[in-house]
Amino acid sequence: MADVIVVGAGVVGAACAYYAARAGLDVTVLDRGPVAGGTTGAGEGNILVSDKEPGPELDLAVLSNKLWRELADGVDFEFEAKGGLVVAETPAVLEQLTALAVKQGVEHTLAGDLAAYEPHLAQGLAGGVFYPQDAQVQPMLAAARLIRAAQDRYGHQKVRLRTGVTVTGFLRSGGRVTGVRTSEGDLLAAAVVNAAGTWGGEVARLAGVHLPVLPRRGFILVTEPLRTPLVRHKVYTAAYVTNVASDNEGLETSAVVEGTPSGTVLIGASRERVGFDRTISLPVLQRLAAQAVALFPVLRDVRAIRTYCGFRPYCPDHLPVIGADPRMPGLYHACGHEGAGIGLAPATGHLLAQLLSGQSPSLDLGAFRPDRFPAEAHS
């Protein structure tokens, strides 16, 4: 019997397993697919502080940024401390960006000479703000290697990864969760962590609790590998910040452009609430291309060779769900991180491990409470 069962072998589940094992707990990670096969596998690997409004999520992001740097010292997942550059098209937007940066209180520089940061940026932009803490990892490697690091450091007997195992229900006794039913039989544990990402709502439903996690689709265009890097940092327009926080169901896009160690350039970002529809939308791809070319005209002659979509796990208030579920003792949640799951994973795992081992979390989890949503409307 494990102390903890983590449902989901994405980056959040991996971080939960890593920190729980570090706290001395015995962990089993389950995934119905392979490691990192869900939203983590469709992510860009963003570790951002720049796009968060001041408040609990920014606090979480700052803690997580620190933890990612610690983890990167010893675990190889292509951590790139490249920094993020947010650019403004007009002086008015630049003013808003600057004001936000001051409110955020994180390390930043006003980027007056944009060309010094990004020589290929379009002419005529008003300016930008540079956030040196913004970074990127290869998210699939990060998830897989975090689990491996937990095994290597804390014992292969203490940390087990079981792929291809589907959770079909919860075991309960005396009003508490005591384990899960799976496609491979029942598994007992003192605690179960729901780290099922976009499918976190479904897992919660199996346990009989309501958690409104919904998919918010995003497309990414991937270019041919470039011999000479054209984009040094993560570069995005101010519109990204407002889109991230928006409640709009319809299509929203903003330019997010960054190079990767493999030489490709990743181009995002789109947001739409269309369920789990994987049909490729050419209008979305067209907009992503147009916005990227507007920001970096040099990309006009660069070819896209691949595109894919993923589903961000989105909650109505755009905040993740982290903590014990008061409605169902023994059940914990670590999901609903929307587009920030990679960045927020270590802090989520760290704080949850504190809870699991009976300590009080070093950051107030009040804003991320699982029972903060109104009960499901019955129609």
Binding site: E224, P225, R227, G263, D301, R303
Partner: protein, 90 residues
């Protein structure tokens, strides 16, 4: 070789490959012309620096990429050569 198909090709023209002249029969692809001239390795990979040239020959594998007249990463096996083309290998 020409007897094989009863071919009477039109007069050859020249292209340059890294500045060196290479003779081409009208209608041949850049890749075929290089191959015919004994140039079979014209690209190095970005991680291992491994030599590459034609492999699939039909535009699928992208191993034969060259720069032609300043346009980078062209598939040499698909691109029909034109007189005076400047081919640059990488």
């Amino acid at each position: 070789m020409k007897d094989l198909a009863g071919a009477r090709p039109e007069p050859a023209f020249e292209i340059t490959v890294d500045g060196r002249p290479v003779s081409v029969l009208p209608g041949q692809t850049v890749g075929a012309a290089l191959h015919a001239a004994g140039i079979r390795s014209w690209r190095t990979t970005r991680f291992g620096g491994r030599p590459r040239g034609l492999f699939c020959g039909i535009g699928v594998c992208f191993d034969c990429l060259v720069s032609v007249n300043g346009s980078p990463e062209q598939r040499a096996c698909l691109l029909v050569a034109r007189a005076g083309d400047e081919v640059v290998t990488s």
